[in-house]
Symmetry: C2
Subunit: 327 residues, 2 copies
């Protein structure tokens, strides 16, 4: 069913994705070839363009007919890519979408500065909307994302991380950007407040479900399909919901085993497999799936104030796909 869903979404958004790709190249507007190279390395490495699509679909659902939705949608891919460049540095990640991360090819300095450049490009394009409310959304996204990353960093390998803290971190890190993309789609359409709020709620729940699915994949996918190393979160000391739920259900002995593996930076493949077995047997995997499903449903429900349409149904499919995807 996952493949059917993907095909259906792709057939509906294919034209938009092609237009978004072209706009991403056109709007980059760098003065130095190295900036285009570094930005291009990560921008054109097979991203799904989910965030620009969310903005485009949201705008259409609100009846936008200004003709600039593809142009404006690049805001969210540039912003997303900027944070990837800064986060890869933070994560010390060696692989991103199956390619060497930019910082390991060009160095930390260039990766950070090209990230700044992309952030600034997204802002320049946002200013073209002529709406300071749009700017406020962009600024809020960046404030949240940086603080979410820092929060996660400061709680590395900390077994006391609560579920509430985890939710706060993924809200800031992931959900706020999708929420913002949907909300800006409504804003540029001059949509009524309840419609902007509904789309914001859709984006928020989609983002939470998307991140939970991502956190699951880190324990259940394999490296070739995922395009980055499985177990990367654990290696970086990031505690995610599968682990938090399993820890809370664990008896003393299982908890000790888990604690040993989580705090050991050089855990072995056997250790990792032991941990995954515990996440399964203690319900961490199932619980996380259930939570993600809850947010998928909430996302779709938020759209119920809109009349049936092809755009609404595509957004619903995207919510379902968040959970069924393999990478």
């Amino acid at each position: 069913m996952s493949n059917d869903l993907k095909q259906r979404i792709m057939s509906r958004v294919q034209e938009d994705v092609i237009a978004i790709e072209a706009a991403l190249r056109k709007n980059l507007d760098a003065h130095l070839p190295i900036v285009s190279d570094v930005a291009g390395h990560i921008l054109f490495s097979g991203g799904k363009r989910l965030r620009p699509l969310l903005m485009v679909l949201s705008a259409r659902l609100c009846g936008y007919d200004g003709g600039r939705e593809i142009f404006f949608s690049t805001i969210f891919e540039y912003l997303h890519t900027a944070t990837l460049l800064h986060d890869d540095l933070v994560d010390g990640a060696g692989l991103r979408r199956g390619r060497a991360a930019a910082h390991s090819v060009w160095g930390n300095e260039v990766a950070v500065l090209v990230g700044d450049f992309l952030l600034a490009r997204s802002l320049t394009i946002a200013s073209e909307t002529g709406m300071t409310d749009v700017i406020k959304v962009i600024a809020g996204i960046t404030e949240n994302m940086s603080q979410g990353e820092i929060h996660q960093l400061t709680r590395k390998k900390n077994l006391d991380l609560t579920e509430a803290e985890y939710l706060e971190i993924i809200r800031r890190k992931t959900a706020v950007l999708m929420e913002g993309a949907c909300r800006v789609g409504a804003l540029i359409s001059g949509a009524a407040k309840d419609r902007a709020s509904a789309l914001g709620a859709y984006g928020y729940h989609l983002g939470i479900a998307f991140q939970m699915a991502d956190d699951l994949l880190d324990y259940t996918a394999d490296t070739a399909v995922l395009g980055k190393a499985v177990g990367a979160d654990l290696r970086e000391g990031k505690l995610t919901l599968p682990v938090i739920r399993a820890l809370s259900a664990a008896g003393e002995r299982d908890r000790e085993t888990m604690a040993r593996i989580i705090t050991d930076e050089n855990f072995s493949v056997d250790d990792f497999n032991t941990l995954v077995r515990l996440l399964v047997s203690l319900g961490g995997i199932e619980d996380t799936k259930a939570e993600a499903e809850f947010h998928v449903t909430a996302a779709k429900t938020a759209l119920s104030i809109f009349a049936d349409s092809s755009d609404r149904s595509t957004l619903e499919d995207i919510a379902d796909y968040a959970l069924s995807r393999k990478h």
Copy 2:
């Protein structure tokens, strides 16, 4: 005369500086204590608040009476501080204003993310102006600064760096921010175009003079007064105007001596002193002073369309101070 000048400026701007300091604390609005700590470490380490002051004085010169100039002026200190956090990482600098650089205390990750947070705060405050023209200025500053830094990075230790390239780099890295601060002062006042352009020109020339003076100090100051290591530019492979001019005047033998020292990452104190002697004897120091003086005069001349006033005279004094300062 330098001390008199400094005293005169300080006595005129003291109240504003105190108000700016308070606003910088109030507007920070971080959710995590570590963000306040890191941002505070660099924000409250004795900065001169030159950029916010430029905006405040420019606004007043244009008759601004909206009462929010101090609030808006924090945009430029947050932006400046964000770039310091990212540039210190880039420069690998160990000292900043006589204190350990943030990245060497909290790590690269946190320094980058707090930089992002400050950038976002400056943007949120800019959005409060309700003017997308202001946002465009902020976005343009960030596009320019990141590309200026990258340009400099890619030309490290390259003896072929031309004077035109050097000017392009310092324009993007330093002058565009001061130009932007002055221009925004005019924009929020609803000033006529010629006044905004005049203040922009003032800020641009001030920025160029300021950076040239900075580049001179790297060869002529001593570490204790400067608050960072003398010769740091050279150690990082940055070729600045004193070196470019000296190289172009040098005979074959002096050029070889200079090339050896410039390309040697571990040059000795003797090497450094030899280089400084050559910069003096070949006219690199004097030429750079003369160029900086030219831009100081151009900055002051740009203000001639404004009637005499205390604010105009403070801006003129600041231009003179750019060149006479010791750190």
